[in-house]
């Protein structure tokens, strides 16, 4: 951004990814000459219909779904989440409970909070200091009153992976529908849904180098379903509304590429992530990685810098041409620091200073080294301003030495 001669380093791939140029290339004709409506009988529509079919197959392959008709295209991950949860409630009106976790994405959490005001009982599974679930507690909650379990595959902030395959087995055994928000996991974690008891799964195109505005709800054959949008016959009547054809076709290509790069993601990208974390933690005192570091997405490192605030870190990094994101309250304008950090019991003075670095296959080791060099002086600069920080380290008993009157 303001670092002449050097390209910006983008380490915010859990927020969104760059659309792969190959994806864009395949999409282009569908904006112009291939403009037909896939539902039309004539050749304009017909060709587009075949392209959609191909895209559906690509998604099916990446997910390891048994049938291509289990793939329902939607507008985004949030729509997929809402469709899944609302469908489970509508199809089983006698079941009035939902099991989820305290660390879900707002797409699930805010919907559940809203449903609580409508009289549904929401069970939010808590996590430990590393962001892990207690499966015994989960099992105890499963009953014939529960309409659906909705648990994310991997956490967007820390990358922590939940044992959803096992949890789905448990739910299925208890006769309970299981949904997983897998927007961060698809393309990074190999999956074969036909061998699992996962009934519904959400994915989002723009998290895996497809464009924004397209998502998928995987719906295992035989799962009772009620559409969120009713109308035309698109998606076999399960999601009415003319298909976002170009983006769906782009998503198909992105899924093919994700399949090809799965190994790279788990070796080369992982190596860059590990180097980044190790380099920063070695150079910055009073910093630590959050989440379940031995069981997380290969591209994500969430680092807490104690006694400083995340937005200030991001602004200074941005000035150096480095893009990341933070769990601080300030970055969202909300009242609390990240609900994920809070759920893990990360202390206040560290939770506000968490920075999420999320890589992709477009990053290079040179970029990683640049970030390792840039971060320590930024942290030092802000700590110099912090009332919790002395000459060479945190002041003694920081919480007592500076105990402001909180308004």
């Amino acid at each position: 951004m303001s670092n002449p001669g050097l390209a910006d380093v983008y380490l915010d791939n859990n927020a969104t990814t760059q659309c792969d140029p190959k994806v864009v290339e395949v999409m282009m004709p569908y904006f112009t000459e291939q403009f037909g409506n896939p539902s039309s009988l004539h050749s304009f529509g017909n060709k587009v219909g075949f392209a959609l079919k191909k895209a559906r197959k690509s998604v099916q392959d990446l997910l390891g779904a048994e049938h291509d008709s289990e793939v329902v295209f939607t507008s985004c991950g949030t729509e997929s989440d809402s469709t899944a949860i609302m469908s489970a409630l509508k199809a089983q009106p006698e079941r009035r409970e939902i099991i989820t976790t305290t660390v879900e994405h707002p797409a699930v959490l805010n919907l559940c909070d809203y449903l609580a005001t409508e009289g549904y009982t929401i069970h939010k599974l808590e996590v430990d200091g590393q962001g892990r679930l207690d499966l015994a507690k989960y099992e105890a909650l499963l009953s014939d009153k529960v309409a659906v379990v909705s648990v994310m595959w991997a956490n967007n902030e820390t990358g922590t992976i939940f044992p959803v395959v096992e949890m789905a087995e448990m739910a299925d055994k208890a006769g309970v529908m299981f949904h997983t928000d897998a927007v961060q996991a698809v393309g990074k974690i190999p999956m074969n849904l036909q061998d699992t008891k996962i009934h519904m799964l959400s994915l989002s195109g723009h998290k895996l180098h497809a464009p924004k505005g397209v998502g998928v709800l995987y719906l295992k054959r035989g799962t009772r379903f009620r559409p969120l949008l009713r109308g035309g016959h698109q998606e076999r009547g399960r999601r009415a509304g003319t298909e976002n054809v170009t983006s769906i076709i782009g998503l198909g290509v992105a899924c093919d590429l994700a399949q090809e790069n799965m190994e790279h993601e788990n070796t080369a990208v992982k190596a860059m992530r590990d180097r980044l974390q190790e380099g920063i933690l070695a150079a910055v005192p009073n910093s630590f990685a959050t989440g379940d570091v031995d069981n997380r997405l290969p591209n994500t490192a969430n680092i807490a810098f104690e006694y400083i605030e995340g937005e200030a870190i991001l602004l200074l990094m941005n000035k150096m041409g480095i893009a990341a994101s933070s769990g601080s309250a300030c970055t969202s304008g909300s009242l609390e620091p990240s609900h994920v950090m809070k759920a893990m019991g990360i202390p206040y003075t560290a939770a506000h200073g968490t920075v999420r670095f999320s890589l992709s296959r477009y990053n290079t080791m040179e970029e990683v080294e640049r970030v390792i060099e840039a971060v320590p002086p930024i942290v030092a600069q802000l700590r110099k301003l912090s009332p919790y920080w002395g000459e060479n380290g945190p002041v003694e008993n920081p919480e007592q030495a500076f105990a402001p009157v909180y308004a």
């Binding site: 005001t117 006694y307 400083i308 605030e309 995340g310 937005e311 200030a312 602004l315 200074l316 941005n318 000035k319 601080s328 309250a329 300030c330 970055t331 304008g333 909300s334 009242l335 620091p337 206040y348 003075t349 939770a351 506000h352 110099k384 301003l385 912090s386 009332p387 919790y388 500076f402 105990a403 402001p404 009157v405 909180y406 308004a407």
Partner: protein
Amino acid sequence: MWDYSEKVKEHFYNPKNAGALADSNAVGDVGSISCGDALRLSLKVEPETEIILDAGFQTFGCGSAIASSSALTEMVKGKTLDEALEISNQDIADFLDGLPPEKMHCSVMGREALQAAVADYRGEEWVDDHEEGALVCKCFAIDEVMIRDTIKANNLSTVADVTNFTKAGGGCSSCHESIEYILEDELKARGETFAPAGVSIAAAAPTSTPQQPLVSIDTRSSAPAEAAPGAGLYARIKKIEQVLDDIRPALRADGGDVELMDVEGKNIYVNLVGACSGCQMAAMTVGGIQQKLIEALGEFVKVIPVEKKPAAVQMGGAQ
């Protein structure tokens, strides 16, 4: 990313007076729960004159918290303690060429640190009387605590009431759902049921008579809401005229003027004359007048410029 002004960025990237003063004789420590910001302000005060000779800050906080702290230290230097206490949070925000609504509390924190430091110097105990909650109305930077307190104090029961008393919901109206939930909650607490008014909230007549001062983000300007709707058209028009009179000298200095043409519910029709009419800045002027009127009346109003055709205005054809 936030839309920070150049001034905010300047004070964030190169903060002035960073660090604690070694020889300070007044210290104020305050924090703001939202954003988790906290600020320690240290001042060096000359005992004879009570003039602030130097100021320093230490801040745990975001970009605008650091910028607000830096701005505050620049503003207070050379002032007496009493003069410094005149600085409002709005003054701090203005000094920085404005802050995003979500960040206004950073300026509030600055003002409170100043009060705390002065109290410390004078050996008084500073008690904070301002509680902050989640931001509900982004147009006017009104938080949940303020809305709840105002509902309680004035026995409010509709969204329109809340807008009239706090301004919250008077802009884009996206926060009306949140305000309804708060009302539902507060009404339940006093044993009533929230009965929302059909389709349009704006059309709903206020059900309570304003008695309390209008709550304002700027704690200095607690003007009574004597001209809220329902309080009499005459008083309301008088108030509007008063605001226009205050603005007039500035317009005349540029060779223009403004005239009140008609008042119709929330719509206030004005005629911009002279250099103002047709001027490229006309839209900005109208916006400024509208803002001043909203502040003075304590309700959301719309200022609509019209040509001087009184007959047309009377027929209601001004739009």
